[in-house]
């Protein structure tokens, strides 16, 4: 808690709270009355429309299928709301889709809860919703239910998004850390650390650091689907390398499987520009978040066909095998560094890059 809490202008005496012509979100947009209806009818629904959403009931009513469901939820608080390569809308859809896909599910339906700050530009909201809709289309999922709340100025940074997602688990897929064996190969689906650094550099813009780095935020379900189509039985485990970066996933794989994992730094795909940016900000690119990269553990004989399948997708062209599980049962992930030294990959503490997703 900070010592001084700014009073919301709406609570101050005599201030008009509703002025839709200004093109800004006001508290009444979240009040459930006429302005809410107007916002839904004019801004939200035209962008996200589909037969299920357009019912506008309190719940989305979905067809049920036999099988297993995957269900996930996530919240998005990224700053700034728009960054090179994406925005909070695309991030929310892709993040939810990817969380389902890495569990072996085909993502189907997602929800979108908007928490808007009083004063938010409605044009910005429109751009974010357009972007969320485009990402949903790209992923082949429907946004079937939603909610909008407005909080006073100073109580949220522009907007937050909460999502939930539903997907059907593919039939021939069995994933689990307990399936990891010595010899299994670890694949990363492309160049790392672009998202976290693109967001960071956007924030640092006023300090004059120019960069063309873009976030890698992307829906990976089609790529992952193609991988399963090719080598489903040989895929042992999968995780998207978001917060905590590649280091977070790799150290977790070793720790939770109990096996020693050896990774070769020279094999990890990374753009030269990303590497420089990380160096400049004093960050280890392994610790930096991605929003369009998945780490896949496969049986060794399936590594090559898995790479072929991944590389055929636009988001997986740079996929590479970066390491193997070993016999030792010490639960450590060891990196053979670029200069041939050895060191541990440790899970990041978690505060180096706040508010990146």
């Amino acid at each position: 808690m900070t010592r001084s809490t700014e009073a919301t202008p709406s609570s101050q005496a005599g201030e008009p709270v509703v002025n839709p012509r200004k093109g800004k979100i006001v508290l009444a947009h979240g009040g459930g009355g006429q302005l809410t209806d107007e916002l839904i009818a004019e801004v939200i629904r035209p962008r996200l429309d589909n037969p299920i959403l357009s019912e506008l009931d309190d719940s989305a009513v979905l067809p049920a299928e036999a099988g297993r469901l995957a269900f996930t939820t996530d919240s998005y608080v990224v700053q700034p709301l728009e960054f090179p390569g994406g925005d909070i809308g695309r991030l929310a859809v892709c993040g939810t889709v990817n969380d389902l896909a890495v569990c072996g599910a085909d993502p189907r339906h997602i929800s979108l809860g908007l928490i808007l700050e009083e004063g938010l530009e409605i044009d910005l909201l429109k751009r974010v919703l357009d972007s969320a809709a485009a990402a949903a289309k790209e992923a082949g999922v429907q946004i079937v239910t939603g909610d909008t709340k407005v909080v006073g100025r100073g109580q949220a940074d522009g907007m937050y998004i909460n999502t939930a997602g539903l997907g059907m688990i593919r039939k021939n897929v069995k994933l689990g850390l307990d399936r990891i064996q010595p010899g299994d190969a670890v694949i990363v689906s492309g160049q790392i650390a672009d998202h976290g650094l693109a967001v960071m550099l956007q924030r640092e813009e006023q300090t004059g650091i120019a960069s063309t780095l873009k976030s890698d935020v992307a829906p990976l379900n089609r790529m992952i689907g193609a991988l399963f189509d090719r080598v489903a039985e040989s895929v042992v485990f999968m995780r998207d390398a978001t917060r905590g970066g590649l280091a977070g996933v790799l150290s977790d794989l070793a720790e939770r499987s109990g096996h020693h994992l050896t990774v070769d730094e020279a094999m990890i795909p990374i753009r030269q520009e990303t590497r420089y940016a990380a160096e400049m900000l004093g960050l280890d690119p392994l610790d930096v978040a991605n929003e369009g990269k998945v780490v896949v553990v496969v049986r060794p004989e399936a590594a090559e066909p898995a790479l072929e399948a991944l590389r055929k997708d636009r988001w997986g062209t740079e996929a590479a095998t970066i390491g193997y599980f070993e016999c030792e049962r010490d639960g450590l992930c060891e990196l053979i560094t670029e200069v041939g030294g050895r060191r541990i990959i440790q899970k990041p503490y978690g505060e180096e890059l706040p508010r990146i997703c």
Binding site: G183, E326, L335, T337, V339, G340, R343
Partner: protein
């Protein structure tokens, strides 16, 4: 073009050959935390021949900051009108009554800045608040603090002060050398401090104490090259001053930065964590800038140190022990729940060892069970 791995292999080949000519084991000190961290992170330590040992030194500003200083910061942070501006690394260092992170969660206004001028700007924009900058670091950061004080003077700000805690590298090295228990054969000297103080600053260490000083950059290959030169000096029995970073470090240093320090500060006694108060090892504000001294402005003083029981950070930063020899290391003291400052700081030896070198420690305890890899 040769790859970094091939270049490292070549350097390592020479080092192994040189090490074979040494009459006994040698111990070199990484004076600076950045050297320690980069050597850990790139695995350079794991490549060392058995008779060449690298130990950490007192060059991490967070690690050498006395607990009593943190306590003073927290005391200031509790005041309603005060905004504490600090470099991010200081946030989690524990004083007797918790850390700045804890104080912030309890309502203190603690803001992380990446430059001193940001803190000055804050004071300018918020005239009703008292902005106090936690002025820590060696000669590398002292010029920026001096610039901030001068800027505050020019703007005639009466709501900007610093809590001075700057340290000087050479007096610290002198103290280490005067301690008969500390056995160091040479120093790997830090690139960035040397940019300011100049290569010649180490001359006295070589001439008066007969210890080699090699100034090296922070890349893994540069670190290895530095160690190789120290080993060659040791093998030849000829301690020298060598500057392997001449494109950045000159003999006389950066006169403008030094002039800034000299304009605003005078050398004074400073309290170092675990090393106690060392004469002339810190920087005090000159009398004409005393109004920017937070100790004076707020009438506070530093109390006593009560270092956490069992914590051996002091021995770590003087190269007496390596981090894993401390009983708290990795058990009760980890980067998530740090006890000593060497585990808090991203430049601290303990954190670097914990993050990057636990593989070696496990190996020391014997190999894990073997199995067949099914391929």
């Amino acid at each position: 073009m040769t790859t970094p791995r091939e270049q490292m292999d070549a350097l390592l080949g020479w080092l192994v050959e040189t090490a074979a000519r040494l009459s006994g084991p040698v111990c070199f000190m990484e004076v600076c935390g950045t050297h320690t961290v980069n050597a850990c992170r790139s695995g350079v330590h794991s490549l060392m021949p058995e008779n060449v040992r690298l130990v950490s030194g007192p060059g991490c500003p967070v690690c050498v900051t006395a607990q009593r200083y943190i306590d003073a910061l927290i005391e200031l942070g509790r005041r309603e009108e005060v905004v504490l501006a600090t470099y991010g690394d200081m946030i989690r260092v524990a004083g007797a009554g918790g850390s700045l992170e804890l104080a912030r969660s309890e309502g203190a206004e603690v803001r992380v800045v990446t430059s001193t001028l940001e803190a000055v700007e804050m004071a300018r924009n918020e005239p009703a608040r008292q902005v106090v900058f936690a002025a820590v670091g060696f000669e590398t950061t002292a010029p920026a603090t001096a610039a901030a004080v001068l800027a505050a003077q020019k703007l005639n700000l009466d709501n900007f002060t610093i809590l001075p805690c700057h340290k000087l590298v050479i007096p610290a090295m002198r103290t280490l050398l005067a301690d008969p228990e500390i056995n160091i054969d040479g120093f790997l000297c830090p690139g960035h401090v040397s940019v300011i103080i100049g290569a010649e600053a180490y001359r006295e260490v070589v001439e008066q104490y007969g210890k080699g000083c090699v100034i090296a950059g922070f890349e893994p290959l540069q670190i290895m090259d530095g160690v190789l030169h120290l080993a060659q000096q040791a093998a030849a029995g000829e301690p020298k001053l060598e500057n392997l970073y001449p494109e950045v470090v000159s003999d006389e240093g950066n006169p403008r930065a030094r002039a800034l320090i000299e304009q605003v500060f005078v050398p004074g006694d400073a309290a170092w964590r675990a090393l106690g108060v060392m004469k002339g090892s810190g920087l005090d504000l000159k009398p004409e800038y005393a109004r920017f001294d937070a100790f004076r402005r707020f009438g506070i003083s530093m109390g006593e140190d009560h270092d956490p029981p069992g914590c051996r950070c002091g021995e770590v930063i003087t190269g007496r022990i390596t981090p894993e020899q401390c009983g708290l290391f990795g058990s009760t003291c980890t980067p998530v729940y740090p006890i000593g400052p060497c585990m808090v700081s991203s430049e601290g030896s303990c954190q670097a060892w914990f993050k990057y070198r636990r593989n070696e420690m496990k190996r020391k305890n014997g190999p894990a069970g073997h199995c067949e890899v099914p391929t």
